[in-house]
């Protein structure tokens, strides 16, 4: 099938570029690692508070860090696309018969792969700190974080194709990711938040992702919140890929 073949082809191109620059993987892991070392210890006394979810400081905090990694790690993908717009690469690809969906999906899959790899590294590093997780839980949580990467990357590409310049892309990324992150309960669980804040957070899809991830780390894969988080991300990812592919179809410079 043409779509599968084209997607594989585009994925291969960007995967090739990716493995030539492994430094990005290390940089992507660095930030959550600093949180793990410099911030997570502060949570230990707070973990005893009323309303703090069960599981201990690391099992509550690491899922949040992974969600953050999934989002921040993929939010910058638009910069490389804008560089390619400038080199004429995107225009050159668009004039070939290659599928527009593949142009977006192939490269977003590469980003998804990169996010999953970084997440795995982070989980392995966090284990000695006192993180505990079932092997099947690792697989499920990696799929969940991978979806966050796919979703964020697709949105990032669509935005980059629309604005076409780093000067516009950077402020959009920075001003939109921070509130989404704060309202997802990444740093501290939203269950200890006042009611009005919880109400606002309820419309944030990442809240459900964090919730799902925490249940996975607590060996509750069967909890309905896990399926809920995965379904929400899956639906949004499909929408984002379709919207992004449409942008590829009509990218006008």
């Amino acid at each position: 099938m043409k779509l599968v073949r084209d997607t594989w082809l585009v994925f291969g191109r960007y995967f090739g570029l990716f493995i030539h620059n492994p430094v990005w993987v290390a940089l992507g892991v660095l930030q959550p690692l600093l949180y793990l070392i410099l911030f997570a210890p502060l949570l230990k006394p707070i973990a005893a508070m009323r309303g703090f979810p069960p599981g201990g400081a690391y099992n509550v905090f690491v899922p949040g860090l992974l969600v953050q990694l999934g989002m921040f790690g993929a939010a910058g993908v638009g910069f490389s696309l804008i560089a390619e717009l400038r080199m004429g690469v995107i225009e050159r690809l668009r004039v070939t018969p290659v599928s527009r969906v593949a142009l977006l999906f192939g490269r977003a899959l590469r980003d998804m792969f990169s996010i999953i790899l970084q997440s795995l590294i982070l989980i392995l590093i966090a284990l000695p700190f006192g993180l505990s997780i079932h092997p099947i839980g690792i697989v499920v949580v990696l799929a969940l974080i991978g979806l966050i990467g796919l979703l964020t990357a697709s949105i990032g590409y669509a935005v980059a194709l629309a604005v076409k310049s780093e000067d516009s892309y950077a402020p959009i990324v920075f001003t939109s990711t921070l509130p989404i992150l704060l309202l997802s309960g990444v740093l501290l669980p939203m269950s200890i938040a006042p009611q009005w804040l919880q109400n606002i957070a309820a419309i944030n899809p990442l809240l459900y992702a964090v919730d799902a991830a925490r249940h996975i780390f607590n060996d509750n894969i069967g909890d309905p919140s896990v399926a809920k988080g995965v379904v929400i991300l899956l639906v949004l990812s499909v929408v984002a890929v379709v919207v992004g592919a449409r942008q590829f179809g009509r990218a006008v410079s």
Partner: protein, 323 residues
């Protein structure tokens, strides 16, 4: 080749493109009727901002037209863009090769995009590398290429699938004279292999030396079309240009109503006269100026160039408007 029998590779009717900015609408292409025949090198000549690139991008399926119809490579632009993409090659101004990838890898990838199996794409890449004399550069990153090598690779990317029609957007802009000549050679050899080439340029000599037919576009409209010879012949006769110290306007007024002057213009401080026979007009002009005590600085008699065609059609000189 004359007449309506020959096959059109591009045929447009009333092709338009309007860009909306925040405050107003700009009509970049304002109703273009074109007919490009199979096998010819067709030049689209005009200053920057005339609508050349916009027209090209519409015909190459990159930009939807705001109005009008077009058939490209036997397919309807509005309904069959996918089929058109299989049959055309397009080399944009920016080129299209990624700086971080080797030229060979780009050519192979491009072949794969057109559905070739890997082995066929590798074989085709090797052919193009040899044809474009990129053997020494092919396995280096594109970032290390000279301007001429980069441009040849860009053209190679447009030729991977051996398209029947190749679009080249300002293929020689920014190149040194030697690399420019190389690109001309490539275009001519494509032509010999039967490929139709549609190129844009703001270089008059390029249009004159390379193209079988030329359309001159200005402010989104075609103002003249034909072979370079036909266009020049349309300005029958010769061109006499002279400059004088001061009082150009007075000099113009003095000569413009003479019976041997078909048309007179003041352009960039010199007076241009379109006359039937330059060798007859020249002495008469000199006598007139002398009699009026106007001091002649330079005088020149030449056959009409495409610049004269452009000047006459648009009232501006392309040499002045081109970057």
């Amino acid at each position: 080749m004359e007449g309506t029998d020959s096959e059109a590779v591009i045929e447009t009717r009333g092709l338009r493109r309007v860009f909306k900015t925040r405050k107003r609408q700009v009509e970049a292409v304002a109703g273009v009727d074109l007919r490009v025949q199979r096998g010819e090198i067709f030049g689209f000549l005009g200053p920057n901002g005339a609508g050349k690139t916009t027209t090209l991008r519409m015909l190459a399926t990159l930009l939807p037209p705001s109005g009008g119809t077009a058939r490209v490579a036997g397919c309807e632009l509005s309904s069959e863009p996918g089929k058109i993409r299989e049959r055309i090659g397009y080399v944009g101004q920016a080129g299209g090769a990624d700086r971080e990838i080797t030229g060979r890898a780009e050519l192979v990838f491009q072949g794969r995009l057109y559905g070739m199996p890997t082995s066929a794409a590798q074989k085709r890449a090797a052919e193009l590398i040899e044809m474009l004399e990129l053997e020494g550069a092919a396995d280096r990153k594109v970032a290390t290429y000279s301007g001429g090598q980069k441009r040849r690779l860009d053209i190679g990317l447009g030729l991977v699938h051996d398209p029947e029609l190749l679009f080249l957007d300002e293929p020689t802009t920014g190149l040194d004279p030697q690399s420019r000549a190389r690109v001309w050679d490539e275009v001519r050899s494509m032509h010999e292999r039967g490929t139709t080439v549609f190129l844009t340029t703001h270089y008059l000599d390029e249009a004159d030396a390379l193209c079988d037919r030329v359309a001159i576009i200005d402010y989104g409209k075609i103002v003249a079309e034909g072979t370079p010879e036909e266009l020049k012949r349309a300005i029958a006769g010769d061109v006499v240009s002279f400059s004088i110290a001061g009082e150009q306007q007075r000099a113009l007024d003095l000569v413009k109503d003479q019976e041997f002057v078909r048309e007179a213009r003041l352009e960039n401080g010199s007076v241009h006269l379109y006359v039937d026979r330059g060798e007859v007009a020249m002495p008469a002009i000199l006598r007139l100026l002398d009699g009026a005590r106007l001091q002649l600085m330079t005088v020149e008699l030449h056959r009409p160039s495409l610049d004269d065609v452009f000047l006459r059609q648009t009232g501006r000189s392309l040499r002045e408007t081109a970057a």
